[in-house]
Amino acid sequence: MPVLAKPRSEAGSKGMSGCFETIQAYALRAIGIGERLLPKTDITLCEQMVLIGSGLIWNVYFGILATGFGFWFAVCLSLGRASPLAILRMAAASFVFLFRGSPLFIQFFFAYEAFVLLPKIGVTLDLGVFVIDASTGWLTKAWAGALFVLFCNTAAYSSEIFSGALQAVPNGQIEAARASGMTKFQIFRRIMFPNMLRLAWPAYMNEAIFLFHSTTLVFFSGFPAWRQEGDALYYASYFAEKTFNPFVPYPIVAGYFILITLVIIGFFSVTSTYLNRSVPQQRRVKPRFRLLRSR
């Protein structure tokens, strides 16, 4: 009998110090640092929290880089859509339609196949900025390929928001700027761009939140997790599979994402105060929550 009881008491004695060891072993597991083997048996709550949190590194990585770069591309796209050149308008509008009109899930699959297959059959694809051929194998890795898809996706959605905001810039301000002799670039830089940001900010916050949520799709669609280095949901589904108990790992992911959402809301409220600094108080654009974004 005492022999039987032993493993139980050992598991019980893990406690706080055991959790500290788990953090040392697995906190950076998602980027390949620390213990190689994932826990297989006697999975503790601490292990689930730490590993899923470690996977969150990828979600934050995709989220920040895709919104960071996507923002500027989105500004270019919305300028393209307002351009007097028909060909620019067409190009920008079709890019937006392509990425807003199809599921992100399918985009991931399609992009992965394209990045894998095209170099293999000797097709080189000239994207203007760079060329996809045999030397671009790194695009089949999630860190680059999935980031590229997320970047295009968020740029398309954001440009829709920015286009709307550009049209809502008060005309009087532009007339005043023209009257005071500003060049076209100066008008854009000093009048249109700040106004556009201010008007688009609440909607753009929603876009940022949903982009972070979309990052959970990366390791479920096409791009394989290399050496079991995946994102939060990747580890959560691993635990759900190993423990046959979805009631612990998925709520942990949900909890982490609620935290991320709160951080994003905090960031956007602070920046919104800055963007609206020259606007009379009562007309300030309040950040509002809307649930309007598709993948």
Partner: protein, 295 residues
């Protein structure tokens, strides 16, 4: 399918493709597009009903109704929907099996949770292991429909809460001054007028729903993504129709399918909006201003 197809190795060119695209597996692939459409058509009214119930509950004066209503609607915002899609079907499945366990074999040896495993007696399994394969698919599809309904019900609830608030207060006051009861105001004024405000949000939700349908694949259903991967992967000479890795083209086809679905939905939405705006006293019906969906 056709008589010429009896020996595929003799075929070439157009005949080969005609035969290749009409193999039984391809017919199943084409059939699975109807599965996607079926899912959308079944989920939309379910989600609308749930969302309406949640919106009405969250407006209730009693905290026992308003708190669950608000909580349900708010939950959809902070948590990525894909987490729900991975979590809810397993949870539902276990809940159903647990209920059946209570009814059929409550005195099962060792209970349902044995260590980390969830085990019910074979008579309580859903669907029964003796059931025809079709029932396994139907059950899986049913779980998917309920999960989609729950998630999109929360989204729809969010939209409807906003549109209830958008009904001009003067309308409600007029109703009250005519001596209408609360329920009369609700039925005769609030609900009929709210839909026009809800329509942009609901149309957006429809687009989100369309783009969420590839997630069926994650639930283990044999949907279009499953078949695109299956049929597109390279086939060696032992198959009747050998071909290299064609997944890129299959996913390209899915991409076109979704783009077409989006375009058709947008056109239908514009027509519907024009119809419903008649006599509403909004800019759309009174002025000639172009419709901007606002999102």
């Amino acid at each position: 399918m056709f008589t010429v197809c009896t020996d595929p190795s003799l075929l070439s060119g157009f005949d080969w493709f005609a035969c290749y695209l009409t193999t039984p597996k391809h017919l199943t692939f084409f059939g699975s597009f109807f599965l996607v459409l079926l899912l959308i058509v079944v989920v939309a009214p379910l989600a609308l009903g749930l969302g309406f119930a949640a919106a009405v509950a969250s407006r209730s004066g009693s905290p026992f109704l308003s708190l669950p209503g608000r909580g349900y609607v708010a939950l959809a915002r902070g948590v990525p929907d894909i987490v729900f899609f991975l979590f809810v079907p397993i949870a539902l499945d276990q809940a159903f099996e647990y209920l059946r366990y209570l009814m059929i074999c409550p005195d099962q040896l060792g209970g349902v949770w044995q260590g980390n495993d969830f085990i019910v007696c074979s008579a309580a399994k859903l669907p029964l292991s003796t059931a025809a394969p079709i029932w396994h698919s139907v059950y899986g599809f049913g779980l998917a429909v309920i999960s989609f309904g729950i998630v999109f019900g929360a989204f729809a609830g969010n939209v409807l809460v906003g549109s209830f608030k958008a009904v001009p207060i003067a309308q409600i006051q007029t109703g009250a001054s005519f001596g209408m009861t609360e329920s009369q105001i609700f039925h005769r004024i609030l609900v009929p007028q709210m839909w026009i405000f809800a329509l942009p949000g609901l149309s957006n939700l429809w687009q989100i729903l369309i783009k969420a349908t590839p997630l069926l694949f994650l639930l283990g259903l044999q949907d279009i993504v499953y078949w695109a991967r299956e049929l597109g992967s390279s086939k060696t000479g032992i198959y009747a129709y050998p071909h290299p890795d064609w997944r890129l083209y299959y996913f390209g086809f899915l991409l076109v399918f979704y783009l077409a679905l989006t375009a058709v939905s947008e056109a239908a939405y514009k027509r519907l909006m024009v119809r419903l705006s008649r006599g509403q006293g909004t800019i759309a019906s009174v002025g000639k201003a172009t419709l901007r969906s606002g999102f």
